[in-house]
Structure formats: C-alpha cells, structure tokens
C-alpha cells in the first residue's frame, strides 16, 4: 500500500478542484479537509486494487452533502452578497463568473460535470456515487455543460466586449 502522503500528492489537487466546483470557493477547503481526514482514517482498510479517484470522490460527495445541509441550517446572511467583478475568464478569478454559473446548476448536474470533467470518472461510476442510472449521469453532465456554455461563456464574452 502506498504511503498516504502519495495519495495526497497525487489526488489532492483533483479533489480540491472537485470541491471548488461542487460546494464553491468558501466551503471548498473545509470539504477537502474533511474528505482527506476521513480518507486517512479509512485508508488502511482500502482494497489494494481500489480505484482511488472514485473512493475519494465518493467521500467528497458525502462531505459536500453534509456541508450543503449545514449551510441550509445556518441563518441566511442579511442582504445580497456583493457582486464580484466580471473576470473575463482569467484563471485567477475562477470563483467569480464560473462559480456563479456552476452554483446556478441543479446539484446533480454540477456533481456530474465535476466528477466527469474534473475527476475523470466514467458515468457508471458517477451513477454509483450520486444514485440514478448511467444514462441519467451522462445526461446530467451534458445538460450541465450546455447550460454552462450558455450562461458562463455568454457572460465572459459580454465581459470582454465591455
């Protein structure tokens, strides 16, 4: 079994991207931390041949659901959040327009997009994590990308035109 340090080095960045896409910039690092602490705890019992990406994303998925439920229980902040400046797709500003567009997706679509395009999981694996059929997972990812294309790309192009 590989030292867990290797797991953090090999998959930590992927899990952070997934957490950022699924729960957003403010909750992402908490979700990552809880995911890796739970993974470290369970690691000695993981099967030698297990798919580590799928295992970590499964844990992250549960942590994201917990985080969403906790957020729902928290009192709503007074007033609307300040609007972020349009980022025109600059990578350092990913948490502006891209997160706004991801946050607007239904949770299943956001998860399917993140698990397929950021974690590289096949749709059958995603279906096992989120529930539902493989076809439903494929459709959720396709619909999510389609909506992102319309909302996020339109917004950044608008930003460039300004």
């Amino acid at each position: 079994m590989r030292p867990f340090e290797q797991i953090v080095a090999d998959y930590g960045p992927m899990v952070l991207r997934v957490c950022r896409a699924v729960v957003g910039p403010d909750e992402a690092e908490d979700a990552w931390s809880e995911t890796f602490l739970a993974a470290l705890k369970a690691y000695p019992r993981l099967d030698e041949g297990a798919n580590v990406e799928a295992w970590l994303v499964t844990i992250a998925h549960r942590k994201a659901i917990d985080a969403t439920r906790a957020a729902a229980r928290r009192p709503v902040a007074a007033g609307p959040l300040p609007e972020r400046a349009a980022s025109a797709g600059r990578p350092e500003d990913w948490d502006g327009d891209l997160w706004a567009a991801l946050a607007a997706l239904p949770a299943k679509q956001r998860a399917a997009v993140a698990y397929h395009y950021l974690a590289g999981l096949p749709y059958a694996q995603i279906a096992a994590i989120t529930g539902g059929s493989t076809d439903a997972a494929r459709r959720a990812a396709a619909d999510g990308i389609k909506t992102l294309r319309a909302t996020y790309l339109a917004r950044t192009r608008e930003g460039e035109g300004r």
């Binding site: 030292p3 896409a21 931390s33 990578p91 891209l98 997009v113 999981l121």
Partner: protein, 205 residues
Amino acid sequence: MMATMEPEARDLLSPLLVPDEQAAARLHAWLAAAAAAEGILDVAYRTIDTPLGALLLAATEQGLVRVAYPNQGHDAALAQLAELVSPRILNAPARLDGVARQLDEYFAHQRRAFDVPLDLRLSRGFRHRVLTHLRQIPYGATESYAQVAAATGHPRAVRAAGTACATNPVPIVVPCHRVVRSDGSPGGYAGGPGAKRSLLTLEAA
C-alpha cells in the same frame, strides 16, 4: 481519462484547472496537524540536510522509527514503513523537530548523545538486543563486531551482529557506526563506507 475530455468542456472549466500550490500547502499542513491531533498519524516524516546528505527521519507516536540515508532511497524506506508499520504516513515535520535539532547539534560538535524516544519495532529478537547494546557505546569510542556479539551473550554470532548493525533502522542515533572490524578498519555501513568514516572522524575531533 482527462485526455478524453471534450476540448470545449475543458475550456469551460479551465479556470479550475490552474494549479494552486498555496492552497495545496495550506491544506497539507492542516491535514498533518489534524491527523496528529486525532491520533491517526501513524508515521510522520521529514528530511533534513546534513553533511552526509539529506536524511529521512520518521517517527511513530512512540518515537523515532527510521533514519534513512540518501543511498538507501527515501521512497524505499517510506514504502517499507507503509508495509511494516502503517500506510497512514504524512510528511509532517513537527513530530521530528526534537531529533532534527539534536542531529544539527551533533554534526556541529555540540552534542554527544541523543535524547529522543525510540521505536525499535523494525528490529526484533537478537537484532533488537544488539541495538540496545550499541546505545551504550560512548561517543568517540568503538567496538569490534566480536565484542558486540560477546556483549549480547552470543560470542559466536559475529556475523549476526554485523547483520544487526547493517539493518539498524535508526543509524547515527543508535550508533552502529561505532562498530568496526577487529583490524580497526571501518567495515560496512548503511550510509556507505564514506559516511561511516566521516562519523568516526567527526567524533574523534
């Protein structure tokens, strides 16, 4: 599988694909501290620079469990710890601060004995008894392999005493470098013969 990502989806999500080294370092440090606090950091390790090259230091909750020279392969040493102790291993320097400082002092001629808890679980039976004896050889002194064998009550086990020294999991801190051949020549060493000569020279100064 990332390679099969449709180019347009990759473009859409490209802001998320930018590496974030700062976040990675911050999260790693948090994980190491939280794991130690929860008692699930079975092996913590770090490396230190010394005149003999980078040394890997690893400790369990009981104490120092491994010191590895560059020529022994740090990755191989970590793989062995994962196999024989636990795969819950993180690069987490805090647990090694004490031994790292004492090794710095040793190489600077400011320390003659190490005062750190040891976990000698990687050496069992006769080898363990040999290591226990080695800790009693004082700084600057040497013994022959035959003397070590005799001191552990097995005067004919000279070769086994040599093997026990060669497989010492915590060299320098348990001073197997102070065991030399009966003719006075240094003999073999985990860190290579040059490292052994350097340590004997250091302690003779």
